[in-house]
């Protein structure tokens, strides 16, 4: 049925954002068409917010053919988890939250020390959730520009029963013919925005007027300077003795576990200003803000082999 009398005029050729969006819609519909029990990972972060808009474009006026899942480390910013819950409610979609803290209580996650970053332990909780619900595919918002292990990963990435990625044994992926077949217990990870870069994400957020958690925008926050980076002072990350607490204008380029996600100094208080900053930035997204990727040259590759996204 026509809902409007005036139709939107389609240009002859798709812009780069239209093309990326269309590719991502196509990928999500392939998951829906090929998999029997998929799930979409939604953290409340900017990449997964873009994925929700793509999912709306892929499936509305129907409901999403998958629930949303967040693997919560228990150390997430309140602004982000509140946003996560509200966004799922507004969309009328089912949100499942599974917590690393539950895995700790079960004894399947054992921390080396109480303040150890919990990001890498999300793999365990994710695999437990996959088993609990019998998911055969997990849709995630990872991008190939983030990291060199991701640059070589397929859009449909096969994982064995242990959730392991084997870079030497990937399925060939040709044209737009995706192979999501798996046996029971195995799992396919699907990355619809593989071909997007950080600036594409921001341009898409601007174009689609997508709402973001407030901590993506410049705000004042107490921080300390530690090993060359800025660390937020929070309940779980207190200042150490001898450190000076500063109140600085900062914003987050990525949001994740509090203990390993650092903000950058910025006064960008709008998406347009963030785009302008991103276009002239001199540090990669993960280099600036992900403390857990800096430990070793191959740390992402290692974590992916262990079942990480």
């Amino acid at each position: 049925m026509r809902t409007e009398t005036l139709s939107k005029v389609t240009p002859v050729k798709l812009s780069h954002l239209d093309w990326l969006e269309s590719e991502a819609i196509h990928i999500m519909r392939e998951v829906a068409g090929q998999c029997s029990n998929p799930v979409l990972l939604f953290s409340g972060g900017k990449d997964s917010i873009c994925m929700l808009r793509v999912a709306e474009k892929a499936f509305r006026p129907g409901r999403f053919p998958f629930p949303l899942l967040h693997v919560d480390t228990g150390h997430n910013y309140r602004e982000v988890t509140d946003f996560r819950d509200r966004r799922a409610r507004e969309l009328g979609e089912r949100l499942i939250v599974r917590s690393v803290e539950d895995s700790m209580a079960r004894g399947t996650v054992v921390l080396k020390s109480p303040d150890e970053p919990r990001n890498k332990h999300q793999s365990v909780t994710l695999l437990e959730a996959i088993e609990e619900f019998g998911f055969d595919a997990c849709i995630g918002g990872a991008r190939r520009d983030e990291e060199k292990a991701r640059a070589k990963e397929r859009i449909f990435s096969f994982r064995d029963e242990f959730g392991q990625w084997d870079p030497k044994n990937q399925r060939p992926e040709l044209w737009d013919l995706y192979n999501a077949r798996s046996f029971k217990g195995e799992n396919i990870r699907v990355f619809p925005i593989s071909n997007w870069t950080e600036i594409d994400v921001w341009q898409y957020i601007e174009r689609e007027h997508l709402e973001l958690p407030s901590i993506y925008f410049a705000h004042r926050r107490p921080l300390v300077r530690r090993s060359g980076g800025l660390l937020p002072v929070t309940e779980v990350t207190p200042a150490r003795s001898g450190e000076t607490i500063e109140n600085l204008m900062v914003r987050f380029r990525t949001v994740g576990d509090i203990t390993c996600t650092a903000p950058v100094e910025s006064d960008a208080d709008s998406v347009a200003r963030i785009i302008a900053e991103t276009a002239i930035t001199t540090i990669t997204e993960r280099g600036a803000t992900r403390l857990d990727d800096q430990t070793s040259d191959a740390s992402m590759e290692q974590r992916k082999k262990e079942g990480y996204f």
């Binding site: 040709l174 737009d176 013919l177 192979n179």
Partner: protein
């Protein structure tokens, strides 16, 4: 050209996205070329640059080795090999680029075929000191086989032949001789030095005898694949939207057919035929997220609503009436075998074409192609990296076009159901 000047704005037209492939080995300077494109387009950020500066210094180099930008995985560094296709990104402000970087040696055919399947343009690197080699012919043949419409022959390392115009002219002439035999039509030649940065993004000062465009200018002006010629409308149905349980009673009769336009375009009111049923109707609406569009163009993901109630499911195809594809239960194709297990003529495989799967059996191998000499040879079976002309018999019909006419509806993959692996890639001839 600073980054801020390249910021996309309303004044700069968005020239869409171009996917290209670089063919060549590390020795041809491929990694340096990609590094140069990323570096000169200011895609490389300071922390990455510092990291490769440190590594370059550690290896005793006095200049930054841009090839380190494409340095791969831990497993690759340990074994000194390149495993797989890597995808890299840069933008000029008017156009976004996706580079498919296929490794030069190991499993070359398999990787290049994968990378080429989505490319609009191929850059074939030639070392100016070595000229046209067997691998140049192999790369060109595969680029042509996979239907890449634009070929750029990059004669690299001109700095090592004193920027000699005679050397460049000789290579150009050698290449054109065999390109004519392949049927390559759109070939452009460019002399360059990726190491020095000549004719990549900047012209440099050492190739003043060359009046053609720089590599980036060629990339900026190359038409993306679907703008080349008018194509027939093909819409494989991926998913059917029937929100009967919706709270909105208006949606109880809603039937939206969801998919991506593989080729051609469709307008509201057009007469369409649904395959395999052959039922005809008209397009009532084209929607994306509740918004109606006047038409859908190639590569656009949309939802189509039809005038009449027709039973349609995933795997069916909507086409314009009068532009029907071939309904085929037997296909002839060029097949690339991608698996370590050889093609077994006695086994049944799964053939996936658009959104449709069918059991398939080999009905014969006409010939295998020696991709170095391009000679045809007799073959009883196919092993990994083989390319052959084959015939498949199918259990279910597919709605097929020639690959040369429509990539999306002329291509298929072969899946081994015992492993679920993708084992073959085919192009219908």
């Amino acid at each position: 050209m600073s980054a801020i000047e390249r910021l996309p704005s309303a004044a700069v037209p968005d020239n869409g996205l171009l996917r290209f492939l670089t063919c060549g080995s590390v020795d041809d300077g491929k990694s340096t070329l990609i590094g140069r494109l990323l570096f000169d387009s200011k895609t490389i950020l300071a922390d990455t640059l510092h990291a490769i500066q440190r590594t370059s210094a550690k290896r005793g180099l006095d200049v930054v080795d841009l090839s380190l930008l494409t340095d791969g995985l831990q497993a690759e560094r340990e074994q000194g090999i390149t495993i797989d296709v890597a995808y890299r990104y840069f933008t000029t402000g008017t156009r976004k680029y996706i580079i498919a970087d296929a490794p030069g040696h190991e499993q070359y055919t398999r990787n290049m075929v994968t990378a080429a399947s989505t490319a609009d343009l191929a850059i074939i690197l030639i070392d100016a000191r070595k000229g046209v080699l067997t691998q140049t012919r192999r790369h060109s043949y595969l680029a042509h086989l996979l239907g890449i419409p634009h070929i750029v022959v990059a004669v690299n390392k001109m700095d090592l032949v004193d920027y000699s115009p005679a050397t460049f002219a000789q290579i150009r002439s050698d290449y054109l001789t065999f390109a004519a035999g392949l049927g390559l039509t759109d070939v452009r030649f460019i002399p360059m030095s990726a190491l020095q940065g000549d004719m990549i993004v900047e012209r440099g000062e050492r190739l003043d005898w060359y009046n053609g465009p720089t590599l980036l200018e060629i990339l900026e002006s190359a038409p993306a694949i679907h703008s080349a010629h008018a194509e027939k409308f093909r819409f494989p149905v991926q998913y059917v939207c029937r929100p009967q349980d919706s709270a909105n009673p208006e949606l109880h009769d809603y039937r939206g057919f969801m998919g991506r336009v593989e080729s051609g375009e469709l307008c509201v009111g057009d007469a369409v035929t649904v395959l395999p049923s052959g039922r005809e109707t008209r397009v009532k609406d084209i929607q994306v997220l509740g918004e109606s569009l006047d038409r859908a163009v190639a590569e656009q993901s949309v939802t189509i609503l039809l005038e009449d109630e027709i039973d349609i499911s995933r795997g069916d195809m909507i086409v314009k009436s009068g532009e029907l594809p071939k309904v085929a239960k037997q296909i002839d194709a060029m097949l690339c075998w991608l698996s370590e297990s050889p093609l077994d003529p006695r086994r049944k495989y799964l053939l996936r074409h658009t959104t449709r799967d069918s059991k398939a059996m080999l009905a014969g191998i006409a010939f295998r192609v020696d991709i170095n000499s391009m000679q045809h040879e007799v073959a009883e079976r196919l092993v990994m990296n083989d390319i052959a002309r084959v015939r498949f018999k199918l259990a279910q019909p597919i709605f097929a076009d020639l690959y040369t006419e429509s990539r999306g509806t002329g291509a298929f993959i072969v899946i081994d159901e015992s492993s679920n692996n993708t084992v073959g890639a085919g192009m219908i001839v």
